[in-house]
Amino acid sequence: MVERVEHRSPLRATPQQLKELRTLNVAVVHPDDADGRLLTQQLQRIGCKVQAFWPPVQSIPKDVDVAFVAVRPDILNLNMDWAHCEDAPTVIAVVNYENPTIVEVVLGLGAKAVLPSPVRSFGLLSTLVLARESHKENRSLQRRLRKVEAKLLGVRHIAEAKVVLMKTHNVSETEAYDMIREQAMSKRTTTEEVAKAIFEAHELLSMGHRS
């Protein structure tokens, strides 16, 4: 017998993305045709809660986690702004053309996956799970990026405020920072906020006196 490497970890656990399938609210923005019905029925077999919308809607209910959208020539000029808001659902495009015009709309929707028409039941589950995963990851990266940007701005404000205090109060850098911190504590706010206020006040007071 050939020595085999154990290829399955002894603590194999089912990924969260699969466990959550039965709690997903799915919108199917698709005409009531063979594809639309197959899509809806297969989603129901998988165990998702499905709502169908057609003709296309201007907004989508807040609790929708995933939206399948038929991207076809007749929806090109519709307003799909809902797909771009902060907590937009994961968008999966259902396409029957792949010419540049259609692909552009798919990109514009921020779709995380594409289902080619005619839709088959096989492959839908994997597409759904992957699109969901990639959308979640994207969103959490974006949130982190925003936090990091805010943090960076705060650090800049503190540096600037320290310079102001060192100049105006003739103190060391450590003392300047302590002053900012004490203010923050007594006003129950962050050092970044205090620093920003100090710097802005200084800018305002020294109007016209800048070197």
Partner: protein
Amino acid sequence: MADKDPIRIGILFSETGVTSTIGLSQLHGAMLAVDEINDAGGINGRELQPVQHDPASNPARYAELAERLIHQDGVNVIFGCYMSSSRKAVIPIIEKWNKLLFYPTLYEGFEYSANVIYTGAAPNQNSVQLAEFITSNFGARVYLIGSDYIYPYESNRIMGELVLQRQGSEKLAERYVPLDAKERDFAEIMADIRNKRPDFIFSTVVGDSTAALYRAYADAGFDPKSMPIASLTTSEAEISQMDRGLATGHYTSAPYFQSIDSEANRRCLTNLRRRFGDCSVPNLCWEASYFQMHIFANAMRQAGEDDITQLMPFILGSEFDAPQGRVKIDPTNHHTCLYPRIGRVNADGQFTIVRQARRSVYPDPYLVTHSLGDWAARLDTLEC
């Protein structure tokens, strides 16, 4: 009706190769039903004419022979397949030519094809009940052994998750052996089991290597009273390949056992003996293969055609008094409502049924997370 031509149907069960024991029994189940149907006047006077080929437990052969059945033999409906790999090989062909496949085998779920009717158990019809029974009677420290292919991987995932819902549970190991494993392939595993002392062993070993597993267990001197093997795939057929008494005391979860005490089952077994003598070993896959042929025949009587488009509406939602009880094809997912049961192997190599469902259980092939204590999985106690 003017049309008295026979109706040709395709039969694809392995009569040779590693899964031939089950394959032969499925073939016997199908042929028995065909005989019963023809003896009763066929389908509106038309004879059912089976065309059978032996794919020899080889997925590529299954695909070739499915093409041949469709193109050379001119059949519209095929009955067959055992391992998932054989089903996956046949489905693209069935779908391409829009034909119909009846699949009489338990499998791991997560599939729906508009061209397939699934008459074996989905995991919510056997695994949940087995986990419930075994963990409450023996404990929840499990050792998983399976043949090296997709059905065991997925069954073990489900069993692992179910078991971990119990207090004091532990998944001690998840081991895979080749499909043609011999007793020596289990030697090291048995040594590991001796060290880890699980409460029970969950086996998804299939085919001829099943006998090797039970032999290795017995040779290691283990006792099924304190550490049984619990299985979904060890049926009367696999037990018939073992030395007498080898599987005694171990458990299997299945919708059908030969020992079911019902009129329909007794009648069916008598017919089988008359037709095939004692060479046929009825088991869960045999029964599914038997009743699905009748489901097809009933639908065909109403449709008058064996084309999938005409036939399907009469198959979906249809019911039949099978040996296990009254089964029904679920119209939404094409799987079958079945009666989960737990059997303990007795000294005669038959199953003493210790638990059984009062009502049939709806198939849920896309269920990712199964739960213990689900009311639908609760079984009646027959024997302790």
